[in-house]
Amino acid sequence: MNAPVKPSKLIKGATGDWEMVIGLEIHAQVNSQAKLFSGSSTEFGGAPNSHVSLVDAAMPGMLPVINEECVRQAVRTGLGLNAVINRRSIFDRKNYFYPDSPQGYQISQYKSPIVGEGEVTVELSDGETIAIGIERLHLEQDAGKLVHDQSPTNTFVDLNRCGVALMEIVSKPDMRSSEQAQAYVSKLRTILRYLGTCDGDMEKGNLRADCNVSVRKPGDPYGTRCEIKNVNSIRFIGQAIDYEARRQIGILEDGGAIEQETRLYDPNKGETRSMRSKEEAHDYRYFPDPDLLPLEFSEDYVAELKAGLPELPDEKKARFISAFGLSPYDASVLVTERESAEFFETTLDGLANKARDGKLAANWVINELFGRLNKEGQDITSSPVSAVQMSAIVDLIGEGVISGKIAKDLFEIVWTEGGDPRALVEERGMKQVTDTGAIEKVVDDIIAANPDKVAQAQAKPALMGWFVGQVMKSSGGKANPQVVNDLLKSKLGI
């Protein structure tokens, strides 16, 4: 993205405006039963070292064998990122010594990754849409975990996570603000979750970001970057980037120079600190892993996976807008979380007249249901009101059986007590009264009892609202508002 940066995205410094340049490397744990090169389970939370095979522990003579499911998931992800799929890729060894890496090297992909360039469309809070380039996606092994707090003199190693497949998704340096970076990570997470290729659960560490940050004066070449390792929440990503950019601007404005280095973000102090400098950087001695053949697959294989992809958020949003007339904002709200979108789709499927009531259903799902869930701190997956119940409520409104106001009462009953909305309406007499004769009687009674108000309303028609309120009140809210309005207008002669 080389479009000019809006002035609002620039940071004011003592020497003028500065522009941030951000590139992200996202490590996303592949959704698979077994590890990348062994049959061990990838299940989270097992007893330490309970998911460790001979291969994971790098016993002498053990050899890696590729898990085809992980390959499938990486290709599907590449397709979801509109990226080039490389039908021949190579696994390399990244050599380094650390107890979390029993082989003494990580199997990764260096020069020939499985997925090449792609693009993700990201929507910002002001409604602006930007495209973020994807540089590459490659498969690699996760490392084990060191446990430092179990013994005063020893560090323990838990290899459960060791060898689990990760997709490293590398963006181009296309982001110019922490907000853009956060929006990009959110969008990427949404796509991965739609594809089912990664849970995207940042708390469990199965989506982590390395943030490359540099600053420059607008129009200047790229500055020297620092990499902030392993940031594990979208909020921290924003904080870490903003802190880091300001730190760099501070140094540059004091006449200093940025040293290329790896840094860590400390969320408690809200600052980044140096982890290792360029001089201390490892020489990983990458070379093709001789235990593995190049990874090759056919055009047909890719085509088949492409055909099997689910509808992705961008497509879904466009469909919601064109088919049901939703606003882009509402459509975005519905598609951001896969589960929310699924709930809405099921609600739509349950409607008697999708074309007529789709938009109404969206309003109800967003305003009533999401609003209530939010207020109660609950998740869509544990919603007390099911999609089937939601469809029934919307149907009842759409069919004119109940008014919108009554519908809110009905929603409350369904939320707290449950039950079939249609039956509830019958049992509790919540049906809207559209019988003109019955309403007319009420209208007549009220007009007769309030001659002074009649005069006022005839002088100032806006005051008719008082009569509407009285009629609704006396009908217990069940009178059809349209019928009430029409009758009042003709009876009052306004």
Binding site: P60, P99, G104, R285, D291
Partner: protein
């Protein structure tokens, strides 16, 4: 009864089948011979109890006529192969008393077919060496001596224990591995037969890795037929090794005795190296004449990149080794020498656990893969490797069935005689054998004569990919013409 340890594997197999003797008798005879030959240091671990248990089981099966392909045949296993519940060290201190809870695919297949394990055989540490002098358990002694001399000679390496044990009658056959010549060179030094199969023919799963793209398991035995019999059990596709090839395993023994008439045998001029002893040249020409006499056609061929093979090999193999040996870090198994920090522990463990030659190769490998050197060394060596492979492909494309070369540039030498001052002197031993590993081809070493001092010399036949059968046929032709070579028994 004849000495059961002097039988060939084929003879022993037939004797077991006809119940001339039992596997327990055969096994005991070998255990006794092993005990008497400890001076050779061929075995680093004898497993007599396991051997007798396996022999009894084999006898029970033989009695029911279910002996299997190798039913009751006692073998020695190179210490590079992981053997379940039996110490496996790759003859390195760093593996200490490592006892694997798993069995290598190759040995599992031997046991599947009824073979009996006598013990673990000595080898160069992590298979790095050409004289079996780098073993943590000390050097192996070749049963062959120069005529009228009592100087101990090396058996070659890295499968020195395998070669020495087979030549001295301490097993009927042995497993071995070959990364740059480690089956063929010791077989030649000990006057016996060694087959290095096509890369991917035998599974590497459960075999301690030296250089993954070059390592290949294979048999060493006293005759070509015995080698072919062992090959059938050792070979086969293994889904646990991504580089193993899914291809049917033929009955290699059926190739023995097949006519070689009309076969075109290439004689590469580049193998006529400077300073090669005249007797090696003579042996080579005699071998060619033997094949010609059997009806084969000898053709002069050129493998122009041969001279780059050794330097390229000594980049590729250490590079892979430096990475393969990173797992020996003192964290999970084997030797650990404590230190003040994790780095200290790594350094102490690896400095004490690895011998000098292994340390040298790990350092060479680390160097050639380093930033700034990778292109000049590793990448270039890989390009050379492609050219070497192409040399052979072009040769075979012209209808050549196999290529005949000497196996080694000399006969066995004395312990401590070579490489002390200059490791390259030792590396030159592999000059005729490394090309085969670089190209992933099969190669067999067959004894073909003796040098002036009475030491055996071998010839090498290089074959087309997965055409081990032709090599067995040709090898046996040379064996028939040259006779067999048995060392005088001075050690017991």
């Amino acid at each position: 009864m004849t000495d059961l340890t002097s039988l060939t594997l084929a003879e022993a197999r037939d004797g077991l089948a006809t119940k001339s003797f039992t596997s327990v008798e055969l096994t005991d005879a070998h255990l006794k011979a092993m005990e008497a030959a400890r001076v050779l240091n061929a075995y680093v671990l004898e497993t007599p109890e396991q051997a007798r248990t396996m022999a009894q089981a084999a006898d029970a099966k033989l009695a029911k006529g279910e002996g299997g392909w190798l039913g009751g045949v006692p073998l020695g296993i190179k210490d590079l192969f992981a053997t379940k519940d039996v110490r496996t060290t790759a003859c390195s201190k760093i593996l200490g008393n490592f006892v694997p809870p798993y069995e290598s695919t190759v040995t599992a297949q031997l046991w599947r077919d009824g073979a009996v394990m006598l013990g673990k055989l000595n080898n160069d540490e992590f298979a790095m060496g050409s004289a079996n002098e780098t073993s943590f358990f000390g050097p192996v002694i070749n049963p062959w001596r120069r005529e009228g001399s009592d100087v101990n000679l090396v058996p070659g390496g890295s499968s020195g224990g395998s070669a020495s044990a087979v030549a001295a009658g301490l097993c009927l056959g042995a497993t071995a591995t070959d990364t740059g010549g480690s089956i063929r060179q010791p077989a030649a030094f000990a006057g016996i037969v060694g087959m290095k199969p096509t890369y991917g023919r035998c599974s590497r799963w459960g075999t301690v890795a030296f250089a993954s793209s070059l390592d290949q398991a294979g048999p060493i035995a006293r005759t070509v037929r015995d080698t072919a019999i062992l090959m059938r059990s050792m070979a086969g596709y293994d889904p646990k090794d991504s580089t193993s090839v899914d291809r049917e395993v033929p009955d290699y023994e059926a190739a023995i005795g097949k006519s070689v008439k009309g076969m075109k045998i290439g004689v590469p001029k580049e193998y006529r190296i400077d300073g090669m002893p005249a007797e090696i040249e003579k042996l080579w020409m005699e071998g060619a004449a033997q094949l010609k006499a059997a009806g084969a056609e000898l053709v002069d061929v050129s493998l122009p990149h041969t001279k780059y093979a050794l330097p390229a090999y000594y980049i590729v193999a250490p590079a892979e080794a430096s990475s393969n040996l990173a797992r020996y870090d003192g964290v999970r198994y084997g030797l650990r020498v404590p230190g003040r920090s994790i780095s200290d522990m790594y350094e102490n463990t690896r400095a004490e656990g690895f011998g000098a030659e292994v340390r040298r190769r790990v350092m060479i490998g680390t160097y050639v893969l380093s930033a700034g050197y990778y292109d000049a060394y590793y990448l270039r060596a890989q390009k050379v490797r492609t050219l070497i492979k192409r040399d052979f492909e072009e040769c075979f494309a012209k209808g050549i069935h196999a290529i005949l070369t000497p196996a080694t540039p000399s006969a066995a030498f004395g312990i401590g005689e070579k490489g002390g001052a200059d490791p390259i002197e030792m590396y030159l031993n592999d000059i005729f054998t490394v090309t085969v590993n670089m190209a992933g081809l099969p190669g067999i070493a067959v004894p073909a004569g003796k040098d002036a001092q009475g030491l055996p010399l071998g010839l090498q036949l290089i074959g087309r990919p997965f055409d081990e059968e032709t090599l067995f046929s040709l090898g046996e032709t040379i064996e028939q013409a040259s006779g067999r070579f048995t060392p005088p028994k001075w050690w017991a």
